[in-house]
């Protein structure tokens, strides 16, 4: 059993660490800055991806084989989310065409930021890692996907999963 506080701080430190190392490269233009930003996001996402792969491998060790895609998504929303964030996804929607929207009304990594607009612009930094977690988890279960995220009122946020049809 580890303590949550430690994880939250570690995560914060990773975020600021990644962004700090990016700042070393002086920002030239707005476009460049955005690109740099993108690189940071991607880096965090990749870390999350690797973690997701590992976690899902552990968490599904003793579960029965999954029936189908939806079965897997449910697992992510319930068991996976609970083990990682100590709560379930509040709402899962899908168009049955390989797009799923996972909504968390009180996302753990955002609750530590005081709610309201003032930190909104920083919010996405704190979602990247989790996007990776989801993508990594899914990919390890054999589902290639793209995971994006969206926040409009903290600490609620949506993760969108686009499944790559094979």
């Amino acid at each position: 059993m580890a303590d949550e506080a430690l994880f939250l701080l570690l995560h914060n430190e990773m975020v600021s660490g990644v962004y700090k190392s990016a700042e070393q490269g002086e920002v030239v233009s707005a476009a460049k800055a955005l690109e740099e930003n993108g690189r940071c996001i991607t880096k965090l996402e990749n870390m999350g991806f690797r973690v997701g792969q590992g976690l899902i491998e552990r968490f599904t060790k003793d579960t029965a084989r999954f029936k189908d895609e939806l079965d897997i998504m449910k697992f992510i929303c319930k068991d996976f989310w609970t083990t990682v964030f100590k709560k379930q996804i509040d709402n899962l929607r899908t168009n049955h065409q390989g797009i799923y929207v996972l909504q968390d009304n009180k996302f753990r990594l955002l609750t530590q930021m005081s709610a309201g607009k003032q930190y909104l612009e920083h919010a996405s930094k704190y979602l990247a890692f989790t996007c990776g977690l989801i993508r990594g988890g899914l990919s390890n279960l054999g589902i290639k996907s793209i995971v994006t995220a969206e926040v409009s009122s903290m600490p609620a946020c949506k993760f969108q999963v686009m499944i790559q049809k094979l």
């Binding site: 590992g54 899902i56 552990r58």
Partner: protein, 153 residues
């Protein structure tokens, strides 16, 4: 007891395959590779099955004169294949299961090693020694006459 242990990636290439040194390993590579046919069959059949039947252990894939080939598939679609000497008739299903569990646990640890790159061949020392233990492990259990129990079972 196991004469060959293999871990096979989602994409069906071997992540790890090791057989007892005394035997010609090529034979086992062929055997394991061929067994994937049945693994695929079982997995696809499994899709339709009910939850309780959807266990990870696939059971006996196919027997040959000299060997029995057992299969197991993780939720991450990684397959474990284990070849056992047929003469080892005393070996029971639940023993095979428990061996697969050990494999799975050990594999999970490998997956969690941050320096391991998922999809790469497995070179973990821990995993290696675990497999070794499976291969040299001898049956401690004396083969007492189980006939009585066998009847009316």
């Amino acid at each position: 007891m196991a004469v060959c242990v293999a871990v096979i990636a989602k994409e069906n290439y071997p992540l790890y395959i090791r057989s007892i040194p005394t035997e010609n390993e090529l034979k086992f590579h062929y055997m394991v590779h061929t067994s994937l046919d049945v693994v695929d069959e079982k997995i696809s059949a499994m899709g339709k099955a009910l939850v309780d039947q959807r266990e990870l252990y696939l059971g006996l894939l196919y027997p040959t004169e000299d060997y029995k080939v057992y299969g197991y598939v993780t939720n991450s679609k990684v397959k474990f294949v284990m070849v056992v000497d047929s003469s080892n008739t005393a070996l029971r299903d639940n023993e095979i299961r428990s061996m697969f569990r050990k494999l799975h646990n050990s594999y999970t640890d490998v997956m969690c090693n941050p320096f391991y790159n998922p999809g790469d061949r497995i070179q973990s020392r821990a995993f290696d020694s675990m497999v070794t233990s499976m291969m040299i492990q001898v049956l401690s259990r004396a083969p007492c006459c189980r006939a009585g129990e066998a009847l009316w079972a």
